[in-house]
Point group: C2
Chain length 418, copies 2
């Protein structure tokens, strides 16, 4: 069969499965998820054996140590995948929930009911745990899922899907509710992205390059974020000890992720006290600073920041620092250079805390807390399928609920329109 037909067939099966998935009870879905967790642990050896093929090839082709580490499955990591699925199973089921209901003057009772989106395509790289995480979240929300992992993890991903699918058929779930694109050609992704009548949503997870390629080619709606240039603004009324603690956490706790701080904005009234404090701690943690001229007057040893630094997502132990003359200037900086991802203010001033929360239009805005909390699990969504910095449908971390939509339901007793 030609590649194109193969992909269309796969998507048609997914759409058919989605029709059945949408009607399943929470009990049926959760029971299947719980057994999927069991099955992954039970099949640990098989999964590791298949994973070793990918790891070997990765070694042979000279992939970086970090990449190989992300690729490798260990018994501990498989336990974590199982734990993740169990957590998804334990979340409340959004499907069928009536989010609101009201009566119209003519007696019609109108409500909105959550329903699954339908078929969701996930396009991702390296980490095989995304396979089980994403599949579990999509199924929980009553969707069918088409997975397309990176070619470097194809054996691992196929093995994981194989284990999950065996559970699917043992339970009352439709056989094609979980599918993995079985070929590694890039054209398969292109073909997938054309099927707007069969697939409802595409979620790309990976580097900016992958995501831009998906957005460019897709006729299907895409939910994504390109990058996270997250700011912490230390206000003139900040508790400076708290500010140091938050900045250190936001930058250093895991510098390679999208919710790490990339630019620090400091009010000039506290800069001369705060900057030496924070730069000492950050320096000890290995962070290199790049400062504006005012910053460098206070801590002269730092490199000079260029215009590009304000746009940079370092994902590394580098931090851009700017002294601002007001919160107004901080807000302008964020509006100009920010990526709509996550921004935090550190302040004890009530008025400015509220104003910062209201005026910053990023997807997550925090007062006196680390930017690292911008994460589905940390915010209490239960689990995270991704983060969106486009405003349509979902903005910020996305959980199970964001894999559903609402329809209108209307109870009448013979009403007609006049």
């Amino acid at each position: 069969m030609a590649l194109r037909d193969e992909i269309i067939t796969l998507a048609k099966k997914a759409k058919e499965a989605a029709g059945i998935m949408a009607t399943l009870s929470s009990a049926v879905k959760d029971a299947a998820l719980m057994e999927m967790a069991e099955a992954l642990v039970r099949e640990k050896e098989y999964l590791i054996r298949e994973n070793e093929k990918d790891v070997k090839r990765a070694n042979d082709s000279g992939l970086s140590k970090a990449m190989i580490d992300r690729l490798t499955l260990t018994p501990g990591r498989i336990e974590d995948m199982a734990k993740g699925i169990r957590e998804v199973a334990s979340l409340p089921d959004p499907v069928g929930r009536i989010t609101s209901m009201w009566r119209r003057p003519n007696g019609l009772l109108v409500g909105r009911m959550r329903i699954p989106l339908g078929v969701i395509g996930i396009i991702y790289e390296s980490r095989p745990n995304v396979t089980s995480d994403a599949a579990a979240l999509c199924l929980k929300a009553g969707n069918a899922v088409i997975l397309r992992g990176g070619s470097e993890a194809i054996h691992s991903n196929l093995a994981i899907v194989d284990v999950l699918k065996r559970v699917v058929v043992r339970h009352d779930l439709p056989e094609w509710a979980i599918q993995m694109v079985p070929v590694t050609e890039r054209e398969a992704v292109y073909e997938l992205l054309q099927l707007e009548e069969l697939i409802d949503l595409i979620i790309p997870r990976g580097g900016e390059e992958l995501i831009r390629a998906v957005v460019k080619e897709s006729k299907i709606p895409v939910i994504k974020h390109y990058k996270g240039v997250c700011h912490v603004y230390v206000d003139e009324d900040a508790d400076l000890e708290m500010a140091v603690r938050i900045c250190l956490n936001a930058k250093v706790q895991r510098p390679g992720v999208c919710n790490a701080m990339e630019t620090l904005l400091v009010h000039e009234r506290v800069a001369s006290v705060f900057l030496p404090l924070v730069s000492k701690e950050l320096g000890e943690a290995g962070v290199k600073l790049r400062g504006c001229p005012k910053t460098r007057k206070i801590i002269p040893h730092v490199e000079e920041a260029t215009e590009e630094d304000w746009y940079a997502e370092y994902l590394d132990l580098i931090l851009a620092v700017r002294v601002v003359d007001s919160m107004e200037q901080a807000l302008e900086h964020i509006a100009l250079y920010g990526s709509n991802h996550t921004e935090a203010i550190v302040t004890m001033n009530y008025q400015r805390a509220q104003e910062f929360l209201t005026r910053v239009q990023s997807s997550t805005v925090l007062v006196n807390a680390s930017t690292r909390f911008s994460d589905g699990f940390e915010l209490g969504l239960g689990a995270e399928i991704g983060i969106s910095t486009t405003k349509l449908h979902a903005y910020g971390p996305m959980g199970v609920e964001e894999l559903t939509t609402t329809k209108f339901i209307v109870y009448g007793n013979g009403q007609i329109r006049t």
Copy 2:
């Protein structure tokens, strides 16, 4: 200035205006809207004078009578436009509303706050009232709007925007919150649809051809529906008198709109009684039926329905009729031929009413009420900016709230992630 630069400049101004619009209080927005309504009525003569230029050209170029009627502004229609704006002003402001808030185990208080989408582009045809309706809705939700009406209404639309903009500058609204694309070249639309960094949402309103062209060219998310193939299913336990009333209303009250019934499905147990009843009433109203073989056994005078009839959106006094052997078969028919728009069941059976509501995945599903209620105003959204049959972001009639999104806001007291 080249066309492309002109469009980019216009969109940049809109984005700047959106930043200010997002921070305005409801009082400021509503006062401006109320005065816009006044101003349209006050400038009635100017609007009609400009409209006459469009009408004259339409007459000269031989546009259909129906088209010219849709295009024409009368004092009454201008009063209606003003009334529409006043109604939008009186709606609750969604911006700033906290839709939910919860506390995390670490003490973080996490909430979701409604914020405007940003810049919205509306691409539409003929009816000049869309200009004021769409502008009012976008402004109410704190957005900036770029309007692009049909070339046949360019004088009318420019005059309406001119009147609205004079109010904008008299009030505290940013000058570029409402803009009309001032040129009629089709390329202007194409250029607009490329500006994904400046425009957040495109809403096309008009015929299927217009909408398909917009979807094809747009890099910006589009919310739309192609067509409405709406079904009424008359169950074996229907109150047949009520069913006749509902079918007549759904088909005849306004046959040219997307929420009119296009296919009638009748349970075989009631078909021999119901079909003669309903066909008599529909016939008297001028409706031509096209039936399946079982239908034609009961009412032999009707034309035979072909496969294409099940897919057809007639927008006319024509109705496809099929006799089904069960609700199951009706559900299958709807899933196969439906357009995800609106479907209704007529039944007194509790179980089947609930099942139909749950299992039909269309954007509006009704029990014992006319499909014609699938409308933002009728469902209680206050006003309608359009209807969506794609599931992302909004599904079904869209009101002011659908022109907003939510961001996460987080109140902390020094929390860091461990």
